[in-house]
Symmetry: D3
Subunit: 137 residues, 6 copies
């Protein structure tokens, strides 16, 4: 019931199918979730978004599970229910245990609380925080 | 210039000093940042908040650096400038390299973008996402 | 299932009916959507809100379609599902094509991403941006 | 004073300079604003973000000024001060008059208000809103 | 340094001065804060906003101080620094003590934390909550 | 259908039951709402959160109803549907009348509007607002 409807594999153009194929191959999965089928009406957006997600979520200085945990943290803070469902599932697939899930939520909750205490008390930034990488790089 | 002013160590009650001492001991640091000095007007809040932060940020199923990265991700999503400054500094202290910082920001940016694409296209949750831990626990 | 229930036309006071009539006349529509029926319990709020919406969304320096696009952009950023549904429908009624819808969502997604990159990297405002209308007025 | 510092043109790698050159050529401008200089530490992010912005903000079904207005609306809703300053300046450059600026802000303010009234009154989506493009496509 | 500049009393039109006079008379104050001077470029917005604020913040089923506390709570949650400063000052003028300020912030912090725990754990609404006024009205 | 499922009283550990019992005793209620049953998988979080909520929401410088109104205001601003439903119900239990509900929503709506007008017009904080308690403490 997405605004423009969902484009299923069998109804997709060659260009869109190529992205769908790459998504399934990269994720070692045999289905495409609704997000991609919803934005496939805009093939440029589909390609650009998938390309960016693929690059950004690949192993690097941070491992893929840590990246998924960060994705969930943002999605919870934004109250994006779809994203919470999809990235919680992805995180589980990449190794998140129930214990890790619970610690993640505790940090997210705490961060949201202290973010607002800082703001409500109008606390000024300590000069000591400035340029944290400076002595190291 | 916080709303109620900052309570410095030398002006603090015994109760508040005990929290300050524990913060510095836990962090192996010799100073207290403004956040704690601002909320110290409410000793119950100070104690409860520090106790929660201490417990939640301790090593567990997730390591302390991962928890700091999550804290930064939430703070950026909430546009809490103080919290970004303080938790970026903490993350550096716990081992975040510039490369990790950059990957963190890329994930946060991407997550904020796709959160809104999902929402704007009114995408429905795939039934496949439900109860992600079910087959495992 | 709104908190106070919905006030239908036949059950409405004369004061509320007058607003409902003006909404339908202005919109060339024969029905009232739930938002107005929900807030009609507070006739002062109903009148004030409708009066403001009517004035603000009227043609001016910006045309009504552009205003609806802006309304949708805000609603997506706020994750207000009702508002996304209602203002997407209004925008279609005022001439938004699927192509315009897709470009709108792409801009909203991009803006949400760069908003957070700027914030996470703690970028300072360039002095060149200050008082953008200054040379013109 | 951005977290990693700003990379000036003279200190930039060939890869980064190529993006800076394209930004200035596309915008018919002779300077680079801080956002790009801050994220240039991550050349992949710099290139991908600039490429996306360039594509998305180009004339299409929506004209460039309308896109800037949408960008400002998102930035205000997110309280991104840097983005408000930079995109307000861009919008002025693309033709936004003070009258258009004022109507934009009025719509953004109104949308933020009604978004919350809908949410606070727990209003359910009218079935009439579903699939707004259905009769057309 | 507001986008369009500030309109001072001596430079204001009769229409704008009438609003300024009513603000000062209502608030028993001899100055106008920057918010009103910034939006005075749009006299319709100035008048409508002041009229709404005046009506909404007047004593009613809730007293003016409670309303200010609610205003501060929203402003903190939205990270609106200007609004936090102005409405904290207004609340103090209407009787908020430091003890009340501290309890307000504690509630705001807690609510922001539990809002996110609920969201992150994907908790469904209990049927018992539906239509809370039903048995009473 | 919460991520980890709900822990019912009969399936709960002694530790969790003790919290459930205290919730019901404190609230003079004979049931536990889903939020607590969802987070009970993390007994430390359950205990800490309940303890904090109990302390913070107790009568103090602000009465319990005022605190609930503030809780609702935050929850609406965050678009937390569960929290709006649960705290609206709590507020009714503590004495919120429909008239109070409507005034609360009007203030929340207005605050969200002016928060964004201030931000969009880039209004600077008046020096007069600084340290509002200064002359009093």
């Amino acid at each position: 019931m997405s605004t423009l409807g969902l484009i299923e594999y069998q109804d997709a153009s060659t260009e869109v199918r190529a992205v769908y194929d790459d998504i399934m191959a990269t994720r070692k999965s045999d289905w495409i979730n609704n997000f991609w089928k919803a934005i496939a009406h805009d093939p440029a957006l589909l390609k650009r978004t998938w390309q960016s997600v693929k690059e950004i979520m690949a192993p690097g200085a941070l491992d893929p599970l840590t990246k998924e945990l960060i994705y969930v943290a943002v999605s919870v803070t934004n109250s994006c229910h779809y994203c919470i469902a999809s990235h919680t599932a992805s995180a589980v697939k990449k190794g998140m245990t129930p214990a890790m899930f619970m610690e993640l939520q505790a940090v997210v909750g705490m961060a949201n609380e202290t973010n607002k205490l800082v703001t409500g008390y109008q606390v000024e930034i300590d000069p000591q925080f400035g340029l944290p990488f400076a002595p190291r790089t």
